[in-house]
Amino acid sequence: MKALNDPEGAELSHLVAACSLPGRHILEIGCGNGKLTWQYAGLPRQVVGIDPDASVLRQATVNRQASSSNVSFLRAVGEALPFPPRVFDVVLFASSF
């Protein structure tokens, strides 16, 4: 990585301040390489990150930390979510519109 991306943690701090994440079930649409996902992954009960790009999902998985069994990644698009109704407390579009 050539750039040091948001070392002040501004995205994370604003996200956490705006919405309570502990104990929640989170769906992140357009998670990309999981850069933001892994920053907040320790807070919710469950995190599912989806992205249509298999290569960035592989990067997200490579970045997996040992204590992160609550996090999973799937290849999917926001227009056809492979989940039953009413299962997530928060849906996060992070730079994915």
Binding site: A3, L4, P7, A10, L15, V91
Partner: protein, 138 residues
Amino acid sequence: MVHALHEARRVLVPQGILIDLRPYCVEAPLELSSEEGMESVALLDTSSSKPDDLAADKAMESAALVGIFKELKSEYFYYAYYWNSVEDMMLDYDEKWKDDIVLPKKVVQRASSLYKKHPAHARLRIRIRAKLVLYPKQ
């Protein structure tokens, strides 16, 4: 885009929340950080992403109009990318950002010139304004 919002609503529990978090700017400050403080290099044009921003805004307005989400609160903030050299910045730019940000040659020359004054401790940074909006499910 609007269809994705309907899908998001479907998978949200009652009282669930949709969060829209994305870069939202037309100009991004490029600065040089050194032991002497922060020095402006230039304001970079990021307006090529404006149509996408407006389309996303329109989708959320449509969602509010049909009553599936309603804006609760919004805020703006800045986050930053840092590089230890002009060369690193250019590598990132060529790889990821050249479609989104205009980086004129004269700006690169100015960045190089300023950087040479503080090579040991200087870093370049670009600050991106972001928008964060909460939309409770209706």
